[in-house]
Structure formats: structure tokens, C-alpha cells
Amino acid sequence: MRALPAFGAVLLALLSAVALAGPLLGLDAEAVDLMARYAPPSSEHPLGTDELGRDVLARLLAGGRVSLAVAAATALVAAALGTVIGLVAGAVGGRVDAVLMRLTDGVMALPLLPLLIVLAALDWTKLGVPVEALNSEAFAVGRLVAIIALVGWTTVARLVRAAALSVKARDYVRAAVAVGVGPVRIMRRHILPNVASPLLVATTLSVGNIILVESALSFLGLGVRAPLASWGNMLTGAMDVAVSAPQLALWPGLAIFLTVLAFNLVGDGLQRALDPRG
């Protein structure tokens, strides 16, 4: 039982190390070789080549960097957004709290995937984003981070609010308020440290989910787009030829599965380690 989180952590460390080490190995993920399409594994291409003769291993590593970066960035943005909303709701209370919590409930009730689809297909020029910026890779990734974070902050907001409420009720905090300590200071000194651990747990657990969402969006053609590789769009590309070249679908799918599993195991382990009741 105890071994599971450790297993997750090792897995995670391994995956990140391999993904980060990719560039050092000198593999080119975009080198096209039309004469060597669908090549079987060899010493030159340990996992074979894909439909354009590109090295599958190199693409797997490059895709991993993109997928992990998108997921980590999204989780952080969502956590930040959720923390601010939860803190304000919990610390200010009253009508502000009521409005923010109704908003949270509302967002939670929304059908996530269809909404993400609408968001992913938006024409950003109609919102005043210049065309040049729109076609940059940074925007393509940022757009994905923004839209997933936009619907992914609710769990954190609830957690932080609950923690804030319970801290606020404690005697020493009341005392601090009574002697005139300002609300910002209260939040920083007393509330934030207390929500740190549930926040960490929730964020870790959310990374896995975000990787799944990103791959699902890529599958529908709305996620990270070629030529940038991500596990999601590698899998989409492999879907077409899945019957004739199943190995191309196997690897990215397995990578997503293991990474999400690792994040979930580590998150669960953290939860049990940090939760005093556990």
C-alpha cells in the first residue's frame, strides 16, 4: 500500500528526466525520411519510425515535454485562479462569498467537454487578438492553458475557501483581527500556510486530469497542433493507421496512461501524508 505513491514518484521522476533529457540525446523529432516510413525498431530507431519516417522515440520525448509543460502550466494557473477566488470568498465572506460560490457551483455544473470544444474553436481575432500573434506556437499553447484553466479552478477554490473559513474561526486569528491586523496580512500569515497542503494535493491530482483533457481535445483536433508534437496529437495521428501500425498508437497512449497514473498516485500519497486525519 505504501509502495504505491513511491512507485508513482519514481515513475514521475523517470518520465520527467527522460523527457527533459531528450534534447541532450541529440534526437531530431522533426527529421522526415520518406524512404523509411513505418520502419520497425532498430538500433538507429529504438521504437521504429512513424508515417513520415520520423523517429518515434524522439517524438515521444518531444511530445512529452509539450504535454507535461502544458499540464503543469495549466495546473498552476488553475490553482492560482482558484486560490484567489477561494481566499476572497472565505476571507471576505458575506455577499461576496455567496456570489463567488454560486459562480463556482455554476461552473462545476457546466458540461466540461462541450464547453471546452466551444472555447477551443473560438475565433480570437474577433476578440482583438492580432493575426500574427495568433499563429505563433506560444499562443497555441497559451490558448490551451487558458481555456482548460478557465474551467478547472473550481476544486481548488472550494478547498481554499473551506480552509479559510475554518482558520478564520480560530481564536488566534480572531484575536489578530481584534488587534487590527489587516485582511491581506491575515490571509498571508494565517490562511495561506494552512491551505498549502490541500492545495498541493489538489494541484498534483489535477495535472493528471489536465493531461487527459489535453489528449482528448487533441483527439478531436482542437488541442496542440502539428508540427508541434504532443502525446495527444501523436495518438490522433496514429489512430488512422491503428489497424496496420498499432505500435504507433501504443506508445503515446501508454505514455499518457503512465504519466497520469503517476500523478494520481503521488497526489494520493501526498494527501495521506499531509492530512492529519488520514
Partner: protein
């Protein structure tokens, strides 16, 4: 343990392979579901394909890309006297086949033609392309089966009325006349799709399982050659991997090329299953190309445009990616079109010549990338549609090939909604945009190449000359071809147009797409057409052997 026994029987039922297919049934797999069934409101490939089994047009292009009569008895021409010029216009006489009947026994009549014309030109009817109907000034009834279409101008394709989809007036008239603005929702094609009276082909639709299948049965009123099947099921499976799996597991008998597997998937399939299935590829008139934004300073120079084409190894690309099944294009007219010309300037892969041209144009190689005198890099952006797998692959190959020539290419893949709704139609691509033109045989590229067809904010983005190409000679050629009735003279004009196109290169020709039709070895008689008239129009020739 009766419970477990029952469970076992149940499991066996679940797992038993489907009952052996009755031989008088055919199950066709396609990748799109027809949302609506009215033949002239909103065009959709899946609808055209299925209606090909159930309805017959007046005229159509056959597999040799020749215009033939389907519901009419004889193709009207000036030579046989059935077409007569009248002033600027022309009067064309059609006679319906005496045995043409709707599925409820009512004969197809001139009255249907009049009604169809009225619906087609009504501004509220919802008919998408009224151009044809508006060119017809009058439908003159000469008899129950004979009518004359009066056109307001004479073009060489005066007798091609493929889109004049006859509607059964006896069913549709009351629905249309009571409220024309509501017609698109109230038509029997949508409200009563299984009414046999809507269909005049060898089959009629008997069941629509929304989102998944359309079932058709033999139409007893059909008097043409008896088809070999009593029942045809057209199943929709959008995911092509699942579609392929269905073919292998017997869930579908054949996959229609019109809406089937991407070519590379079909070729991989052929390698493994070539002994059980026939994979036929026919180059179509779908023209894959790259539109060039001629207002960009880089591409305004024709030497750069030619160098781009010379530096792209299109022959190797189609050989390796598509097993050579998609012929390299040298201009915009496909080989199968009778006006195709072959004596054009061509640009076979020649990196040395490309380099020389670029040097001459002032783009010198320095450290792997070419720069001009000011030091600006030769960098272009190539926009394509996301989700079209083959196109994405080709774009990545071109990027790699051009990089070798010192040209930096950035790929931008956009969802079709963005690409066609905005990027291309409003000319928002800075340099290159890769997509395809679908057209009919011998279709005049007025909207793509005429200088009056450049979409601009001022003209409300009308036209499809996205490159901004403007050349008086080209304009003249287009104007001349449209009204030239003499085939020999017209063919010469078409040749000049193709030479002009290949010389000026407003767009980079890549290849003509080929559809992959897959059917079991035992099925005979399926003939792919390669154009917008689907193979199903000749379903009565399909046979099990």
C-alpha cells in the same frame, strides 16, 4: 445452476458473429451522416452519395467524364437541333424517359420540372445555389414529358443541368406553396423521408437511423436494369480506424471511396488484405495546391514562386506517401478532363536550378538560410487545415524539403472552420495556404483566377481569387472559354490558359487527389467516377459474383 447456464447462453448470443450476410443485401460504410435529405438545399457529400441510389438527375457526368442523359431520352445539342440559340440566350429541349416514375407510381413529368424551377428561384426556399435556376428565364411545357428550358445566355455547358434536381410536385407543391419560407423544414424529404414517392431511382429510403445508418430497399416502380440487391444499408462510421475494423469484422461489406479511408490508410490496408479486398484508386478532379499571397513582397517575384516548386520533390512525395496513386499536378486541369493539356512549362525536382533562381532573385545562402541584401531571412508561413491527415503530412514533408533549399517554413494548422471561414476567404494568410479545389469536369476557373474575383472588404469578400492574381490575358481567356461553343477552338483556349497558369504560378500545383474505393473481391461492377457525381448513380450494374 440454471442461472449460470442462462448467462452462458446469453454470452454466446452476444459473442456469436453476425448471421451470414444474405447475398441480396449490401452494407456500405461511409464516414459522414447526411444531416438532411432534400436534394437541393445545402450540399453535403453523404447526401449526394445516398441520393445517388434513390434518385436520378436529368444529366450527369459518367465515369469517362462525359455528359450523359439519365432521366432524359437524348442529350440536347445544337447539332441535333434540340438546342437552339435565341438572341443572347439558348432554348434547350429535354424529353423525360417514358418509364421514369416516382416510387408511388406517379410518372415524372414536365410539371415536376416547372415546380422544381419555381422552388429553385424562390428567394425564401433555402436552395443554396440559385445560379442555375436564375439563368433559366422560363420553363416551357411542350407535353407531359417534354419541356424547354430557356437560358438567358449561351455558355458551352448549356446542356449540363446536373444540379436541376427534379422534385415530385405532387408531394411537394402543397408543402411549398403554403409557406415557402418554412419549406426547408417542411419538405417531405425531411418530414417524411421514407415516402417512396420522393424517389425515382432503383432504390428508395425505408429507414433512417439518425447518426448511424440509412436503409434502402428496391423500388418496385423502377423499370431500368434490375439491381442485384433487395436492400442496401449505408452505415456511417466517422472514425476511419473503426470503419476499417468494421470492414474486417464483416460489419460493412465495402467502403465508399467518395467518403472513405484516407489514401495512406487504404494503401496500408491493401498491403495486408489485398487478397480479400479490391482497393481501387482513381485520380479525381480534386486539385491539391498551395495558393500564394501575391501581395507579399517575397512571393510577388515569379522567380521565387518557380524556385519553391523546383525545390519541392513532388514526385518522390506522392510515390512514397501515396504509392504514386495521386498524380503530380502541373496545372489546375486533371488528366482525365478532355481539355487537359500536357505541353506546359513543368517544374520537376531540381534543387540546383531552384538555388540559381533564388540567387538571381537576390536571396543568397548564408549559414543554412537564404537572406536578401537587407539581411531579411527567406521565411514563409504555410497555413493548412488541421485534421486532414494527408495534408498535414504533406505540409511537413514540404517544410523539410524547403528547409534544405534554405527557405524557412513555419507551419500553421488551423481548424477548417477558421481556415475556410476566415484565413483563406478573407486573404489573411501571409504567404502560403494549402487546400484543394473541388470542381466539375471542364469547370471554368473564373472565380479563382479572374481579376474581378479578388475578395476584398469593399466587395464583401466575394470571389475566390485568394492569391490576388490579376492578369488581363488570363481574364480574356476565361471570358472567351465560357462562350466558345466550338470544341476544337475551346480546347486550344484551355491549353493557353494552362500554359499561362503554369508560367505565372499564382498557385503551386501539388497533385490531384485520388479516392480509395474498397470492396470485396466478390463484388463486381463498381466504377468510381472521380468527380462529384457519385458511383451510386450506376448501382444497378453492381453484382455479387
Amino acid at each position: 445452476m440454471p442461472f449460470f447456464r442462462r448467462l452462458a447462453v446469453f454470452a454466446a448470443l452476444l459473442l456469436a458473429p453476425g448471421l451470414a450476410m444474405a447475398k441480396d443485401e449490401l452494407v456500405i460504410g461511409i464516414t459522414q451522416f447526411p444531416a438532411a435529405f432534400h436534394p437541393s438545399i445545402e450540399s453535403m457529400l453523404a447526401k449526394t452519395y445516398i441520393l445517388g441510389l434513390a434518385r436520378r438527375p436529368l444529366t450527369a457526368f459518367d465515369a469517362q467524364w462525359k455528359l450523359v442523359c439519365m432521366l432524359c431520352t437524348e442529350l440536347p445539342t445544337l447539332e441535333n437541333g434540340l438546342a437552339k440559340r435565341e438572341g443572347k440566350g439558348i432554348a434547350v429541349t429535354y424529353t423525360l424517359r417514358p418509364d421514369a416514375r416516382w416510387g408511388d407510381g406517379t410518372p415524372v413529368s414536365s410539371d415536376d420540372a416547372v415546380f422544381t424551377w419555381l422552388v429553385g428561384r424562390h428567394p425564401l426556399s433555402g436552395v443554396a445555389s440559385r445560379e442555375l435556376y436564375q439563368r433559366i428565364t422560363r420553363v416551357e411545357v411542350k407535353g407531359p414529358r417534354t419541356f424547354i428550358l430557356h437560358f438567358d445566355r449561351t455558355t458551352f455547358d448549356y446542356n449540363a443541368v446536373n444540379d436541376f434536381a427534379l422534385l415530385p410536385a405532387h408531394i411537394e407543391r402543397p408543402r411549398f406553396e403554403s409557406a415557402p419560407a418554412e419549406y426547408r423544414n417542411r419538405t417531405a424529404f425531411e418530414q417524411d423521408t421514407t415516402n417512396p414517392g420522393l424517389y425515382n431511382g432503383p432504390f428508395h429510403i425505408t429507414e433512417v437511423v439518425q447518426g448511424s445508418a440509412v436503409v434502402l430497399a428496391f423500388n418496385p416502380q423502377w423499370t431500368g436494369p434490375r439491381p442485384a440487391f433487395n436492400r442496401i444499408v449505408v452505415k456511417t462510421i466517422e472514425n476511419t480506424a473503426a470503419l476499417e475494423a468494421n470492414l474486417l469484422s464483416g460489419g460493412v461489406d465495402m467502403i465508399a471511396g467518395e467518403l472513405g479511408l484516407p489514401l495512406d490508410q487504404a494503401l496500408a490496408f491493401e498491403k495486408r488484405q489485398g487478397n480479400r479486398f479490391v482497393v481501387t484508386t482513381k485520380p479525381s478532379l480534386v486539385y491539391e495546391h498551395i495558393d500564394l499571397n501575391l501581395t507579399s513582397p517575397i512571393l510577388a517575384d515569379v522567380r521565387v514562386r518557380r524556385a519553391l516548386l523546383l525545390a519541392a520533390d513532388r514526385a518522390t512525395l506522392t510515390k512514397q506517401l501515396f504509392a504514386g496513386r495521386q498524380p503530380v499536378a502541373h496545372a489546375l486541369v486533371p488528366q482525365l478532363d478532355w481539355v487537359h493539356a500536357d505541353d506546359l512549362p513543368k517544374y520537376p525536382y531540381d534543387p540546383a536550378k531552384a538555388a540559381a533562381l533564388l540567387d538571381e532573385a537576390g536571396w543568397k545562402l548564408s549559414g543554412g538560410i537564404r537572406r536578401n541584401a537587407k539581411g531579411d531571412p527567406l521565411a514563409v508561413e504555410l497555413a493548412t487545415t488541421a485534421g486532414n491527415r494527408s495534408r498535414e503530412l504533406v505540409a511537413q514533408v514540404l517544410q523539410a524539403q524547403w528547409r534544405k533549399a534554405g527557405i524557412e517554413v513555419r507551419l500553421v494548422a488551423q481548424p477548417p472552420r477558421v481556415f475556410f471561414g476566415d484565413t483563406v476567404t478573407k486573404r489573411r494568410f501571409p504567404h502560403l495556404a494549402m487546400f484543394a479545389w473541388y470542381s466539375a469536369p471542364e469547370s471554368v476557373p473564373r472565380s479563382q483566377l479572374h481579376s474581378s474575383m479578388v475578395p476584398e472588404a469593399d466587395n464583401n469578400w466575394a470571389g475566390q481569387n485568394y492569391t490576388g492574381y490579376a492578369d488581363p490575358d488570363m481574364d480574356q481567356l476565361i471570358d472567351a472559354i465560357e462562350v466558345e461553343l466550338d470544341r476544337v477552338k475551346r480546347k486550344r483556349l484551355w491549353r493557353d490558359l494552362q500554359v499561362k497558369y503554369a508560367t505565372d504560378l499564382p498557385a503551386l500545383p501539388l497533385y490531384f487527389r485520388a479516392d480509395a474505393h474498397i470492396w470485396p473481391k466478390a463484388l463486381k461492377g463498381v466504377v468510381p467516377t472521380g468527380h462529384q457525381d457519385p458511383s451510386t448513380l450506376w448501382v444497378e450494374q453492381w453484382r455479387w459474383e
